[in-house]
Amino acid sequence: MRKTPERIERLAAEYVLGSLQGLARRRFERWMMESATVRREVWYWEQHVGALNEMVPQRQPPARVWQNIQQRLWPEPLPRSDVGPGRDWLLGGWSLLATAAALVLALVLVQQPAPPSVRVLTGAIVQAGIEDPLWVISEAAHEQRLSLRPVAAQAAAPGKDYELWIVPDDGQPLSLGVVPVGQVYRVTLDEAARQALGSSQTLAISLEPKGGSPTGAPTGPILHVTRLYEL
């Protein structure tokens, strides 16, 4: 489509209004990147029609919004140091009994209470015949982070790695990276991952060559599939 002045004028107005949508909106955003004239036209409307924004009555947001903003911009340092010097040693000695690891887990969970009314997903990866879960999973929505805490998980076979996936409602699994056994694995979720997980609430672990799937999709056997629950 050619960028005639009339078209720019019309599309800029509809862009700011919000009635320009979908592909047409994306295409117009590219025009904005390419052309200062287009940008200026958008700014014109933002300034004038934007006066409408300032007329809306104020509403006080809940305190958690500010807390969440801070969490996202300046995440708290990992609570490792708070737990005391013993914990690294505990986690390092992975040959310890699973019950000991579970104690550590309980401690960490107590230390990180989730703020109320923030949705948190949780779950466990279990295997028949093993009493303890292999991993315990928790998602802190406000931190956009998923944590996988190994409890009874054993290291993958030599030359192999475990890889964690989000199984979306439809489409290809999204990789969340290779999961090291023997330490808590934390992964930050981007917007797409957050939405996919929020909707399907399903994770999987596959066995992959060392370093993870070379193709971006699971190549090895899917060892575990688990559904998370909202706390």
Partner: protein, 182 residues
Amino acid sequence: MESEQERLLHLLAGVAQQDRQAFEALYRDISGRMFGLCLKLCGQRQLAEEALQDAFVRIWHHAGEYHSDRGSPLSWMLSIARYRTLDLIRARKVRQSVGDQPLKNLADERAGPLDHTLQQAGSAALTGCLDELSASQRDSILLSYYRCLTHEELAQAMDTPLGTVKSWIRRGLMALKRCLEQ
């Protein structure tokens, strides 16, 4: 008014320099207005909270990109929140209930679909130009703006063919621009 914009500009400049205190002061200053806007647009607290969060994260990262050609600092920041709310509404395909009245009844009301005070205030802000539009043009523009209705939803809400609604908006916006430029 001018001194408020100067203060916001000062705070925004601080944020561009990664000044967290300025950021917090900015949040205290405008979060109420921004949250009011997000809530008005989407009608859902959870989504409005998310949009507000996203907008402030964005302001923290992009404060340095503000310049006076983009309007007043407040207008620039509220635009960020508005676009983010729009995106979230579209991504989630949520549709807010429109206040107490079902959409169907809106077209019949002479005074138009929006709160009367809001419309008056909006009109004043646009230096009376909205008053020069036809009622249909004005209502379709304000409904698009404040309620984030798509052309299709608007056609349904106003019980009018899609083509007619599109031309109301198109002509209304151009008439608005001519009026604003006078």
